[in-house]
């Protein structure tokens, strides 16, 4: 069963909170991982690895740099579900 946009956003929000301590309410589609959420590259990769596991998708390393905002990541994950 595929995850919906809302489910992916909620799940991603949990992973971000777990990794960084940022309150889940601060995580929204338009937020930039680096500029708004202050997530460094190691945290970003940790979130990516956990998201792959959680949502059963593959996020290639080359793709990670294109995921500027939370919305980019949600869209990629939703589209990536087989």
């Amino acid at each position: 069963m595929a995850f919906t946009n809302d489910e992916v956003l909620a799940g991603l929000s949990e992973l971000i909170t777990d990794e960084t301590g940022i309150d889940g309410s601060a995580v929204a589609l338009e937020k930039s991982f680096t500029d708004d959420l202050d997530i460094d590259s190691i945290s970003m990769m940790t979130i990516v690895v956990n998201a792959e596991e959680k949502f059963g998708v593959t996020i290639p390393d080359d793709e990670v740099k294109n995921l500027k905002t939370v919305g980019d990541a949600v869209n990629f994950i939703v589209a990536g579900q087989a």
Binding site: D18, T20, G21, M45, E52, E53
Partner: protein
């Protein structure tokens, strides 16, 4: 001119306490940290030893989750003990370039390493977390302490097995003496109660097998001692030049008057009394003191059949017959053996012993081994009036010997 180095803060977490004062209170009360391990892996892997002295305060209960998940448990313990010590020292205002870290671990991030190995084999390389190496590296605790306290003079790591954190204190002493820093965060940590270390230590017949009686399993100097008990935790001392401490009006626990480090070149695991004796002598020489002045000894005393009498031989060779009149404490009977954390924890006990003029009890003494006629007791022993000079000994696999000498602080 030789500087005077003082202790201005202490912090500790172990099987008998989550803070330094709690460790001391429970040590005096005769508490044992030895308990049956409740982990599934004990039965699943049919471990020959089913107990250890696990820390009573779990780091994840103290540290925020985002902080904890970036640290191996060994670094988590280190951070907790260091935060306590730093606050105890009055959170000193130090020029970052004059603040150093001398830290130690015996084994490093064994949990992180082996968890990652399991993940790699079960799920493939993509699931291995990016923080794996920075968490498992042996300098992780030192690096993280440097980061947390903005210590920029240096952040050095020593790994000399069970001698590690006494050696880190000696290193801190030397670094302060040579003017590299005004304040040093010094100590050691270990979180290695892991099936692989239990299996290995058991395989070499180093661990006690008293599975039916974990609380009395660590019994240094008893005739029926049968090995050490694995412990875990961390201990941290804030060491400072007297000048710096006085300028800021810090409270002073004791003076670190000297330290000695030697190597045996004898055997990779067995120790040689001669190397240990030289370490005691070097510590006293650095302190400008004589063996006749020693009033208390916190012995390494791991409760192994061979190690305990070897340490006695070393002490007797340096101190002579008077060694039989000096109150000795073998506190691993209570705490288990914290490996890379043990020397710093015992240093804290040594400091509190001379400050309170009481040698803490050595619990679990059944029949004292007649071949080790040291002055030990299941009860606390008074240290008497007058200036105190105490030594804390640590010896490690690899033939490492480290001794720190502390004295009551006299203005």
């Amino acid at each position: 001119m030789t500087k005077r180095i003082v202790v201005t803060g202490i912090g500790a977490t172990s099987a008998i306490g989550g803070t330094a004062p709690e460790n001391w209170t429970n040590l005096l009360a005769g508490m044992s940290g030895g308990r049956t391990l409740e982990h599934e892996w004990v039965e699943e892997l049919q471990l020959p030893v089913t107990f250890a002295a696990e820390a009573i305060v779990r780091p994840e209960e103290v540290l925020a989750r985002p902080v904890a998940k970036r640290l191996d448990p060994s670094s988590q313990f280190a951070l907790i003990a260091a935060m306590e010590a730093w606050e105890d020292a009055g959170s000193p205002d130090v020029d970052p370039e004059r603040l150093g870290v001398d830290f130690a671990t015996g084994i490093g991030g064994v949990w992180t390493l082996l968890d990652a190995w399991d993940t790699l084999r079960e799920k493939g390389p993509r699931r291995v977390m990016p923080m794996t190496v920075p968490m498992l590296m042996p300098n992780s605790a030192a690096g993280n302490l440097s980061l947390h306290f903005t210590a920029r003079a240096f952040a050095r790591t020593v790994a000399s097995a069970c001698a590690s954190s006494t050696e880190s204190l000696v290193n801190a002493y030397e670094h302060l003496q040579s003017g590299l820093a005004d304040v040093v965060i010094a100590g050691g940590t270990e979180s290695a109660i892991h099936p692989i270390t239990i299996a290995s230590f058991a395989s070499m017949q180093a661990l006690s097998r008293r599975n039916d009686d974990p609380a009395t399993a660590s019994r240094p100097y008893s005739e029926d001692r049968d090995g050490f008990v694995m412990g875990e935790g961390a201990a941290v001392l804030i060491l400072e030049t007297e000048e710096h401490a006085k300028a800021r009006g810090a409270k002073i626990y004791a003076e670190l008057v000297g330290g000695g480090v030697t190597a045996d070149a004898f055997h990779i695991t067995a120790n040689a009394p001669e190397g240990a004796a030289r370490a005691v002598t070097l510590a006293l020489e650095a302190a400008g003191r004589t063996p006749d002045e020693i009033t208390h000894i916190n012995a390494h005393a791991t409760s192994t059949p061979v190690g305990d009498p070897n340490e006695y031989a070393a002490l007797k060779s340096v101190i002579g017959d008077r060694v039989h009149d000096i109150p000795v404490s073998a506190t691993k009977a209570s705490t288990g053996h914290l490996l890379g954390g043990t020397g710093a924890l015992e240093a804290i006990f040594t400091i509190l012993a001379i400050q309170n003029r009481v040698a803490p009890p050595t619990i679990n003494l059944t029949t004292q081994d007649p071949d080790i006629p040291l002055l030990v007791s299941g009860d606390a022993q008074p240290l008497g009036e007058g200036p105190q000079l105490a030594i804390s000994n640590s010896f490690g696999f690899g033939g490492h010997n480290a001794v720190a000498a502390f004295a009551s602080y006299e203005d």
